[in-house]
């Protein structure tokens, strides 16, 4: 029973991390039909920058901010310098971003080497919390509570806050309305006189910034090293495909499914658990290509 509860919580908190990484990807993919396969590189680069700034200033939160902002800028640059000239050419974008990710990965390897980096968050974040779940009772009557890593609870909280914030932004603000309109019908958005390129740049900035944020926050939980870019890119792809494009709720749902399946796989059948994640993706694509919450492509 304890294993089940722990695995469930682990899956939930991991889902929060995947959601953070994938939400940016789904926005960019959904609105601009932009397949940014360099999304994983944004995660890793944000993590590295966040690490350096954190070490330099001695403040982990500064690192988080630095990673987020730096990647937001990178996102805008990508949009303006690269994607703007290839609108509508999906395959070309895919290939260009693959090329960018290959070069970026190698350059990051040159700068930061193959070492694994561990962040230094404040002590109160990385302790153990006693959850109000009673495991047993000691002989003197006091309850033995379930200990759980505080940081993972922080991840969960961050995921919730950002998820709700994003949802509100998309659904309750004017810019959000424009974004939703763009996801549904880009041509009309353009025709209604709105500067589509500014909207695109904003979306890309948010999407990339989220990836950078996830890089620092996720890296603190699971450390960063070369190879994490591919890992989180694949994870984002799975989450977005399963959950549906352009939908924040879809990303949350997809992240939940993938996070839980991964942790239960690791706990109960570690040998093949990892294959399961990709089988889910293949099944999702084969039978409901638009994802759980997505709408069929126009």
């Amino acid at each position: 029973m304890k294993l089940f509860i722990l695995t469930f919580l682990n899956g939930l908190t991991l889902a929060a991390l995947y959601f953070l990484v994938a939400s940016g990807f789904t926005l960019v993919f959904g609105l601009m039909r932009n397949v940014n396969l360099a999304h994983g590189s944004l995660y890793l680069l944000g993590g590295y920058i966040g690490y350096d700034v954190g070490q330099l200033t001695g403040n982990w939160f500064f690192g988080v901010a630095a990673g987020t902002l730096a990647m937001a800028v990178a996102g805008v640059l990508l949009q303006v310098l690269v994607f703007r000239w290839m609108e509508g050419q999906e395959l070309r974008q895919t290939l260009v971003t693959i090329g960018i990710s290959i070069v970026a990965a190698d350059l990051m390897l040159a700068v930061w080497s193959g070492n694994t980096y561990q962040f230094s968050p404040p002590d109160w974040l990385i302790g153990t919390t006693q959850l109000p779940i009673v495991l047993a009772h000691k002989s003197d009557g006091t309850a033995v509570l379930l200990p759980y890593p505080t940081y993972r609870l922080f991840l969960l909280a961050a995921g919730l806050v950002i998820g709700i914030g994003l949802w509100l932004f998309i659904n309750k603000t004017r810019i959000g309305m424009m974004i939703r309109a763009g996801v549904d019908d880009r041509g009309m958005l353009d025709a209604s006189g709105i500067n589509v390129h500014v909207v695109f740049a904003i979306v890309f900035a948010i999407g990339a910034g989220l990836a950078g944020f996830a890089g620092v926050v996720g890296g603190t939980a699971l450390s960063i090293a070369p190879g994490e870019d591919v890992r989180y890119l694949l994870a984002s792809l799975v989450v977005v495909i399963v959950g549906g494009l352009g939908s924040v709720t879809g990303a949350a749902l997809g992240a939940l499914i993938i996070g839980l399946s991964e942790q239960f796989g690791l706990a109960y059948f570690p040998t093949y658990g990892i294959v399961l994640t990709f089988v889910i993706m293949v099944a999702a694509l084969a039978f409901r290509p638009q994802g759980l919450m997505g709408r069929a492509r126009a």
């Binding site: 395959l91 895919t94 260009v96 960018i100 070069v103 799975v238 084969a286 290509p289």
Partner: protein, 339 residues
Amino acid sequence: MTEAATSATTANAPEAIPMAIIGHLIAAVLLLAFPLVATDFFTFQIGAYTLIMGTISLSLMLIAGYGGMVTLAQMSVAGLAGYMIAIFGTSAGGTALGWPWFLAIPAAVIIGTLFNVTTGFLAIRTEGIFTIVITLAIATALYYFAQQNYDIFNGHSGFASVAPAHVLWVDWRAPKPFYFLALAVAALSYTGVLYLTRTPFGLAMQAIRDNARRMEAIGFNVPAHRIAAYAVAGLIASVAGVLLVWFDGGISPGSISVDRAIKVLIIAVIGGMRHPAGPFLGAILFVLLQNFAIDFVNPERFNTYIGLAFLIVVLASPDGLLGLLAKLGRSAPAAKSLP
């Protein structure tokens, strides 16, 4: 359909035939003479390997260039066939069945082809970027399965000591015979693809690539045509995969990783997907870089160079090296480059 047909007939215009044939003859002579002038190392590690990688990329080009569906699972097909040879034939490390070559090879090729047919079956329900993603997912799933499963695939260590048999008094593993074997496979695949695209099936494929809805309206069975393309590509990739496992002398999950799958795409794109010669051009460039970069440039930054080369090609010349060369002569018909 009519556009594809007319462009095909243009290529068969009287002046074009002798030029194309002469060009092919010269290439054939050079390729046949190559092992006589080159060292054994060059014949084997550069020449044969280029032909093998070119053939695998050719299978990708068939589906992507002529079929309009970009798949990242071709290396997985080749690798699976390679694994099957190690399992059915003789090898070290895991459990090998020890079948003779005339049973093991067909079995491996059939399994590889069936795998690609299944992939096709799953992938044709998608289009564009989604096809890339679903084939990538299939490739990744196979990679992890091979890595984790010890009963069949021998996990992370894979198989070693896989070599072609001595048949007809020839040691096919020796550099020159192996090169000619690879050359034969490459030549057959190349002419096969070239011929296929001019058959009614091939023309239908290209028409489906250009406008599937219209073809369906006319009465063509679009899914069947697409799956058939996957089958042919699967056959080509499987045979190349058998050669590849003989070349490496073994196989492990690393051979079918995401990196390798993307390399096949890179080779096809750099070479150009407008004509079956493109993948081979891309393969030459890639193999030369891979082997000799360490002698000229900082080998640590090899990936940066290959990534930049790839980027430059995609940005500047979507038709790859073929596209660049097209500016020298007449443009090639038939296959479509990046949409």
